[in-house]
């Protein structure tokens, strides 16, 4: 294609993306900027924001009180990510190997929960797990316990429901990668003496590593800022950074400190995204370079 022809199509492309860019700017970039700016303001006693700038809020982040919360947040998000991947890997493998009409059906099953509001699904779990809920009744029926254990209001419940809500976000990118995976490589590994599991581990998993990276990133980023799940099914030991931000913004009426916490979280997520996308781009560039070298 000639350069002259390129320009109008470029412009058209710009015009086409303008609405979504505008949307992003108004609803994502602007709020993020406001959060960043507020982090440098002082709170007044009435819940407002006073004039002048300060670094106090950023300094307050170093307060040791945040360490256990941060630790817990990373722990829960990390574990959620890990469990999601461990479940999603065999699922995506099975889906990619299934007959095409089954594939669409399975895909549908994975997407169906999205038709129900997120909060409703979380409350549904709460109903299932509460002391007179279905799960407790089943546990009672087994007579394994003198009195059925409390299933809600602990980090385990938070983890379970986080995994439940995030699992589709792990399965979908993994499935997309698995669908493109060349399954003769699995045959090749089996042929060379690898067991099915070994082939899965040494060939399938490396083969879909990009999908794996995407899935891990999506789940981790989505859970690290999670507020609703620990708020509804968590107990006194399940507070995550998202809950702390909510407390600062509402109960404490300290918007700047809430903003500082949110900005720090946003910063972590952005850093993670940049690292991942540069790793991704590096691997892609390597691939292209290799192909180029070969053609030269």
């Amino acid at each position: 294609m000639s350069a002259a022809k390129n320009i109008p199509s470029r412009r058209a492309e710009w015009l086409l993306t303008l609405p979504s860019l505008g949307w992003l700017a108004v609803f994502f970039v602007a709020p993020a900027l406001i959060v960043f700016l507020l982090a440098f303001k002082t709170a007044d006693a009435t819940g407002g924001v006073s004039a002048g700038w300060t670094l106090d809020n950023l300094r307050a982040l170093a307060d040791p009180q945040y360490r256990p919360i941060l630790w817990r947040t990373f722990w829960i998000s990390g574990t959620t990510t890990l469990i999601c991947l461990v479940i999603a890997l065999p699922v995506s493998f099975a889906m990619a190997r299934a007959a095409p009409r089954w594939r669409n059906f399975l895909l549908l099953l994975i997407i169906i929960p999205f038709w129900t509001n997120f909060l409703i699904r979380v409350f549904a779990w709460k109903t299932l797990l509460q002391s007179d809920g279905l799960v407790s009744q089943l546990l009672d029926a087994t007579r394994l316990f003198d009195e059925s254990p409390t299933l809600l209001y602990n980090s385990g419940a938070v983890l379970l429901i986080m995994v439940y809500t995030q699992l589709p976000f792990a399965i979908l990118p993994l499935y997309a990668a698995a669908e493109r995976f060349d399954f003769t490589l699995m045959d090749a590994a089996r042929d060379l003496g690898a067991s099915g599991f070994r082939a899965f581990r040494s060939v399938f998993i490396p083969g879909i590593s990009r999908g794996l990276g995407a899935a891990a990133l999506i789940v981790f980023v989505a859970t690290i800022g999670m507020y609703v799940v620990p708020d509804i099914v968590g107990g006194t030991d399940s507070e995550m950074i998202g809950n702390k931000i909510a407390q600062r913004a509402q109960g404490d009426r300290n918007l700047p400190l809430a903003s500082a916490l949110a900005a720090a979280l946003l910063f972590c997520v952005l850093l993670l995204l940049i690292l991942c996308s540069s790793a991704f781009r590096r691997s892609e560039k390597l691939d292209n370079a290799l192909k180029g070298e070969l053609q030269a």
Partner: protein, 337 residues
């Protein structure tokens, strides 16, 4: 997107038409029959929007929400709203029923002259429990120290209420600014925390009703509502004293329909309306004319009328200005502890 915006504009302009009164209040907080009567009498519509905490309501107004005519915040935040010049002075000439407001209650409030606010309900933060599961219950905040309730216990996720309960259990004022007293309350709460399932503002009503929770810290009117349908739920009033809160009616600056707002205040202050109202929502309305009309059974309910000696030890939560930070610090330590 554009269509959505158009739709939103249509919706909002339609809803804010002149003959509509916009009320911003807590959930289940006005007898719906009364609303209908009022609408009929004044040929208008009453649109009710709800909030679940004073802070959320305050944050929403601060963020620029306008168009509300009448709001029902708690007294401590009204102090703040007055400071922030967010409220209109009330025109007493339009409020003939002001005389019905109980004099005794006014004494406990910052705005005792009702310059900006008129008391609507008077409630307490108390304890409800399952009679079938909790035996030998003492009317004391120290019940939260009991380790035999299998963590089926909640405390309010509200730092003023919950730290207040701990302060009361120690015999201190729940508006204290004393660091030592606050530190002691913190230690009490950290001990209580081991026995509770969660800090909760929304789920305790359903929780104690279903038996999910055995003991909950909650607001008297909400718990009264549960008791109406569930005989297994009982209420205890801690004898160390409780936090009392008064929700009041205020008209924000810039209200589109202040005259109609005054009409509704006056309507709700009417003795008969007030009596009907309190027996529906479960909160005591400090309305002397109304209190004469309510059934005795209602007044005898422990969630409605608390013993006089406990009442004497009860306090209304006040805005502490800059010293709120001390509570925030305690609360952070409790949550982390």
């Amino acid at each position: 997107m554009k269509q959505l915006l158009v739709l939103l504009t249509l919706f909002t302009t339609g809803a804010f038409a002149a003959d509509t009164l916009h009320v911003f209040t807590w959930a289940d907080y006005i007898n719906p029959d009364l609303v209908k009567q009022f609408e009929k009498k004044h040929q208008c519509k009453v649109a009710i929007d709800t909030f679940d905490s004073n802070e959320a309501m305050y944050a929403r107004l601060k963020a620029g929400a306008s168009g509300y005519d009448l709001i029902f915040p708690s007294s401590y935040i009204i102090t703040l709203m007055v400071q922030q010049d967010m409220l209109q002075p009330l025109d007493h000439a339009q409020l003939s029923n002001l005389k019905n407001v109980e004099f005794e209650v006014l004494g406990k409030l910052a705005d005792s002259a009702m310059k900006h606010s008129v008391p609507y309900t008077f409630g307490y933060a108390v304890i409800a429990y399952r009679k079938d599961k909790v035996k030998d219950i003492e009317p004391s905040w120290k019940t939260f120290a009991r380790t035999d309730l299998k963590k089926r216990v909640t405390l309010l996720n509200d730092m003023r209420e919950t730290i207040g309960a701990a302060l009361k259990s120690l015999g201190y004022s729940l508006n204290t600014r004393d660091d030592k007293q606050l530190a002691a309350a913190r230690d009490v709460l950290i001990a209580w925390k081991k026995n509770i399932a969660k800090f909760d503002n929304e789920g305790y009503k359903a929780g104690v009703d279903s038996g999910e929770f055995n003991l909950v810290h909650g607001y008297s009117g909400d718990l009264w509502q549960v008791m109406q349908t569930n005989k297994k739920v009982g209420v205890i009033i801690p004898n160390e004293g409780v936090s009392a809160s008064c929700d009041e009616m205020v008209i924000p600056k810039g209200a589109p329909n202040p005259a109609l707002a005054h009409q509704l205040i006056n309507f709700l202050l009417d003795g008969k309306a007030s009596a009907e109202n309190m027996q529906n929502i479960g909160y005591l309305c400090p309305n002397s004319a109304g209190l004469k009309l309510v059934e005795k059974e209602f007044l005898n309910n422990p969630a409605v009328t608390i013993p006089a000696d406990v009442k004497a030890k009860s306090e209304v939560i006040q805005d502490l200005g800059d010293d709120l930070k001390k509570y925030t610090k305690v609360w952070d330590e409790v949550k982390a502890g």
